[in-house]
């Protein structure tokens, strides 16, 4: 493990090509001349207007040795050893002489997540089928194209719709949008579950590509390509390395319980709670007045009261990102049955970092990659550095990148699938 070298890159340049060059240069210089085994790239959405993402990649490839496996995507922001940023690009690159790396991608995640996963795994398997059968334990990072809002004619992009006039048509359009427009929810939970079914021996970290919380566009990177509506994957195996993953969130139970009694066919809309219209019942359960939520307040209020739903026998805390009249949109599949309401505040979100590192079973972390919910960034704002200081202290200055996205989770054979909104999902490589 002492042969492991890691580099974290950073660029704050506005021009996409210059930023690509700089983020690659700053990451590779830490490898002290060794050829990187892979290159993980995250950038904020700003380069869409300052040259575009193909130019960002072109800049990276001016510096990166030809043939280096590269994946990445757009994120709301990131933190690394240098600071916390809502604009710019960061990269993580590793070298170890005996490291085994695979990358792959599959398209069409919103239309057919299972098929996209099949294609992704197929594209990863071309190097050594024999090795696939050996089931080495590595760290698998999955990045899935995140949610995309669709524009409602005459209303624009909305999270809260109270109009009787468009209520039914929006719900109908929501159902069809995945298949026809490849817009709507990211379906990253379905991608994740499909991956776990096929690669259950691996430890995984899930993240999604997003923009700056607007939900209008997002991109993934795969080698020299810019992708939309896709999944990209990176599998890293290092002999004798300790690898562990875990998910933590700071959510607390409120004691408010209810039953989800009617959902949409696709499992993404809650129509009724306790046999009553979902939103009215939710207001009553929380003691909120009817006009408590509107387009302006929905994000500031409802996100801090996630619901905990049951999926495969586990509690899954999910936020409610949009409301259509009396129906609640959920970012992941929900089932009918018991549910409850949780709550979280800024202090809980900061304390969740310690809980995560207490769970991780790697004595000497050498490098850390973490997907985290963009709502953590949105909530903590200028105090986000408190989280960075905690992470840095737990890792004892080892290189790390935390990227903020909209749909995250982790999987390990020991802990199972954990998909949780407003969470941190740490993946650590180290040694005993």
């Amino acid at each position: 493990m002492s042969e492991l070298k890691a580099g974290v890159g950073l660029s704050r340049k506005w021009d996409a090509r210059e930023a690509g060059r700089e983020v690659a240069e700053t990451a590779l210089e830490k490898l002290e001349g060794e050829k990187p085994k892979f290159f993980l790239l995250f950038s904020t959405i700003h380069y869409e207007k300052y040259g575009g993402f193909q130019e960002l990649l072109n800049g990276v490839w001016e510096v990166l040795p030809e043939g280096t496996p590269l994946i990445g995507g757009t994120v709301a922001g990131f933190m690394n050893n240098y600071g916390c940023f809502a604009r710019g690009a960061t990269a993580l690159t590793l070298f170890h002489p005996n490291m085994y790396v695979q990358i792959g991608f599959g398209k069409g995640t919103k239309r057919n997540p299972t098929k996209a996963v099949q294609n992704c795994i197929h594209s990863m398997q071309d190097k050594s089928l024999e090795r696939e059968k050996e089931q080495h334990q590595g760290l698998l990072l999955l990045l899935v194209s995140g949610p995309l809002a669709f524009k409602i004619p005459g209303y624009g992009y909305r999270k809260f719709i109270d109009s009787d006039l468009i209520n039914k048509s929006v719900k109908h359009a929501f159902r069809l949008s995945h298949y026809l427009l490849q817009k709507g929810l990211g379906r990253e939970d379905e991608v994740f579950e499909a991956f776990v079914k096929r690669k259950s021996h691996c430890k995984m970290i899930l993240g999604t590509s997003v923009d700056d919380y607007k939900g209008i566009s997002n991109y993934l990177f795969f080698n020299k390509q810019v992708l939309r509506n896709a999944v990209v994957a990176l599998n890293v195996e290092i002999p004798d390395a300790e690898i562990d993953v875990c998910t933590t969130h700071g959510m607390k139970k409120t004691g408010i319980k209810f039953k989800i009694t009617k959902i949409s066919k696709d499992g993404h809309i809650i129509h009724e709670i306790n046999h009553r219209p979902a939103v009215s019942e939710l207001y009553d359960l929380l003691g909120w007045s009817k006009n408590f939520l509107n387009e302006e307040t929905i994000l500031h209020r409802i996100l801090y009261y996630p619901i905990s739903v049951n999926r495969f026998g586990k509690e899954v805390p999910v936020v409610m990102p949009a409301i259509i009249k009396e129906s609640i949109i959920t970012p992941c599949l929900v089932n009918r049955g018991d549910a409850s309401i949780m709550t979280v505040n800024g202090l809980d979100l900061i304390d969740a970092v310690d809980k995560g590192f207490n769970l991780l079973q790697v004595k000497k972390p050498a490098v850390c990659i973490c997907s985290a919910c963009l709502t953590i960034m949105q909530t903590l704002g200028y105090r986000l550095d408190t989280v960075r200081e905690k992470v840095d202290s737990h890792l004892k200055n080892a290189p790390f990148v935390i990227f903020f996205c909209a749909g995250e989770g982790s999987y390990s054979p020991k802990r199972g699938v954990i998909y949780a909104n407003m969470s941190y999902n740490f993946g650590v490589i180290g040694y005993q």
């Binding site: 709301a76 940023f85 607007k214 387009e295 949105q378 903590l380 704002g381 550095d385």
Partner: protein, 125 residues
Amino acid sequence: MSDDPILEVLEDLLKLDDIYACMVARKNMVSVMPDTSKFNPKIMDVWDIVSVAMKNVFAVIEEYASVGLDVMEFRLKNHSVLFFVIPNTSNALVAIIPSLANKGLIEVEMENARRRIIEILEGKT
């Protein structure tokens, strides 16, 4: 690009879509401000009232900065005005943003700008 490093920091901040205007200011005085032609025209209809309100906020900043007042915010019409106090001065980094902006993300960059300004003032560049 300007020769004044603090102006460079402000111009950088102003490139973010949701920062309509920004400056370093103190009570009754703007210390550093980018060319107002670079401000988003959407603030023009509230500029006069926001300017008056800012003066009142600076009276509070002046009084409480020494006991740890760090950040202040007020909302006026459809805009929010953020004040990030520069320690040991009576100045603050001020930004006007739409009230529906994703404030947390903007705050992260405001904090980076504040730290950069402090470094410049301390002569660390």
